[in-house]
């Protein structure tokens, strides 16, 4: 869909956590994906499948165990601290809990100004002006700059976090369950805002969510993760209307339909996702993706 080179290319990214007694959590295992410019790639999957770890490893909040992340043609997985900081400005992240990610003792305007100061984009009155602009852009009154997080509702706080993420004029914004904790009406407003900002600023989103109905609304492409690996990736319509992997199908089947007439009787399953913890010397089998349609890749099932 996107013309030219992708903004971000992740190649064979692995992130393992040692967890005592020689065991290892294979949180992210050989993940490869691309995010095009101005595109939203959604990452879906059940909790614990590695979505957050993938996001954190991509922006090097975690050091990757192996693999590369190429942003704008630069491999950032090997960058030193100083160079990394410059590139960080191009990638920002918004978290699920807007309350936890704002300092309760500081006016929210300061939180938004901080990235401007850190990256030496602006300072003094100039910074204030930019913060005011950002507030307007995300639908907040500029006067609200001087208020404290507890004076805001959940939706407003998430807007503050979005404003903060936009301060460095990033090209990629990672939203890690950024709307999951919001009430539906607020969630819908925040999603609309994110889509508006995308078309105005040409942003790319890596949109992490477990809510498939939300993902269907706002993504161009979708990656389905299971146990640290991508089992299916492709254009949104392909994933939602023509899912190929049995796990994708199971996920879609489980989504409740907001229509009481469409009530279905489902088989009562009790199976659970296996553990991603592996003993020393063992490791998960690597799944190979094969292309079933242009841009639509599916893992082979045994």
């Amino acid at each position: 869909m996107s013309a030219g080179t992708p903004l971000v290319e992740v190649r064979d990214l692995c992130k393992h956590f040692p967890v005592g007694a020689g065991a290892t959590v294979h949180a992210v295992e050989n993940v490869s994906l691309q995010v095009g410019r101005g595109e939203t790639l959604a990452v879906v999957g059940e909790s614990g499948c590695g979505k957050s770890t993938l996001a954190h490893t991509m922006i090097r909040l975690h050091e990757p165990t192996s693999g590369q992340v190429v942003l704008d043609g630069v491999d950032i997985s090997g960058l030193g601290n100083r160079a990394l900081r410059e590139h960080r400005a191009k990638m920002q992240i918004i978290f699920q809990d807007p309350f936890a990610s704002l300092d309760p003792r500081r006016p929210v305007g300061r939180a938004v100004a901080e990235p401007l100061l850190i990256h030496k984009i602006a300072k003094g009155p100039d910074a204030d002006e930019q913060v005011a602009d950002l507030f307007t852009r995300v639908g907040l009154e500029p006067d609200m700059m001087r208020q404290f997080p507890h004076q805001f509702s959940g939706g407003q706080r998430q807007r503050v976090c979005i404003a903060r993420a936009l301060a460095t004029r990033p090209e990629l914004v990672i939203a890690d369950e950024a709307v999951s904790a919001l009430d539906v009406s607020i969630q819908a407003q925040v999603i609309n805002l994110m889509m508006e900002l995308q078309s105005e600023l040409g942003l790319s989103y890596l949109f992490i969510s477990h809510d498939l109905a939300v993902v269907e609304r706002m993504s161009h492409r979708v990656a389905v993760m299971y146990l640290g690996q991508i089992v299916e990736i492709g254009p949104r319509s392909a994933i939602f209307e023509n899912p190929q992997h049995s796990y994708t199908q199971r996920l879609l089947d489980a989504v409740p339909i907001a229509d009481p007439r469409a009530r279905r009787d489902r088989p009562l399953l009790t199976d659970e996702i296996p553990s991603p913890v592996w003993a020393a010397g063992t490791s998960p089998e690597r799944v190979e993706l094969r292309e079933v349609a242009p841009g639509h890749l599916v893992a082979a099932e045994g």
Binding site: V19, G20, P274, S275, V277, T282
Partner: protein, 288 residues
């Protein structure tokens, strides 16, 4: 796909596993076991009356005819004193800590659980005890009653419970609003059951840590009282040995050094164990 699940088991067993991985803590446990064994059974192996004068006073270790740790200012066997003196210290500490737990936990639990005026009242009461200088308070009690091992233990216990009450209260305040307490109420459990069966076991980890440390403090406390001559004159203890020998200590370092080492090792062992337990109960360190 077969993945290796790390074994878990009960919270107690997990903590034990963590504890055993901590070398310093295990050393503390071994040291303490050694001291306890010496106190319980030492006299079978070193059958010497610590109160009897057996040789010339102030004979150093290694001198002709002197016992292994020398003799004190009256000519009593220092080693026999060290072997037998522990029982007073440990008994006093145990009884005192028992009192601390009974009083401190009860008051803290009730204050934290019920809140409101019950909390205010109990905490005022606790503060009164807390602002009293503990040593002075204990000295007054011992002076008022006869200085027996029992009085000393009670005095130390009464002087030491406020910290435990505060800790218990804080834990109860934290735990009482958790969902499983709500769930227990929704099942129809009584207050008594909720306090003792539901919340209390969850408050145990920090309490156990603090009680371990209080044991060490109580040993020191007892030694201090005995040093000042406020112990039971008929029960020999490490602190008392140091107190009685302090005048002549320049002529015989061994008279105070060996009982001093005994006190030091006991307190050290409790503190190492306490540290180990702290880590063992810390869920953030699990699975490392």
């Amino acid at each position: 796909m077969a993945a290796a699940q790390p074994e878990l088991g009960s919270p107690g067993r997990q903590a034990l596993r963590m504890f055993l991985r901590n070398r310093a803590a295990v050393f503390g446990l071994v040291l303490l076991s050694g001291i306890v064994l010496m106190t319980l059974f030492g006299s079978f192996f070193y059958d010497q009356d610590p109160t009897r004068i057996i040789a010339r006073p102030l004979q150093g270790p290694g001198e002709d005819g002197a016992p292994a740790f020398g003799t004190d200012y009256l000519g009593r066997d220092v080693l026999a004193g060290v072997v037998n003196g522990g029982s007073t210290s440990l008994t006093v500490a145990l009884v005192a800590v028992f009192l601390v737990v009974v009083i401190g936990v009860t008051i803290g639990a009730l204050a934290g659980y019920y809140g409101g005026w019950i909390d205010t009242l109990l905490m005022r009461f606790t503060e009164v005890f807390q602002v009293l200088p503990a040593l002075l308070f204990a000295m007054v009690i011992v002076a008022l009653f006869e200085p027996s091992t029992r009085t000393v233990a009670i005095a130390i216990g009464l002087a030491s419970w406020p910290g435990t009450a505060r800790l218990t209260r804080a834990e109860f305040l934290r735990l009482k609003n958790l969902e499983f307490v709500k769930a227990a109420r929704a099942v129809g459990a009584s207050d008594f059951r909720i306090i003792w069966r539901v919340i209390f076991p969850n408050a145990l980890p920090p309490l156990i840590v603090s009680i371990t440390l209080i044991m060490g403090a109580a040993i020191l406390f007892e030694s201090g009282l005995a040093f000042l001559g406020l112990g039971d004159p008929n029960a020999q203890s490490w602190g008392q040995m140091i107190g009685l020998n302090r005048q002549t200590f320049l002529n015989g370092w061994w008279t105070v050094t060996f009982p001093g080492l005994a006190i030091f090792s006991t307190v050290l062992s409790f503190s190492l164990i306490g540290d180990g337990l702290q880590d063992a109960f810390n869920p953030k360190l699990r699975g490392r």
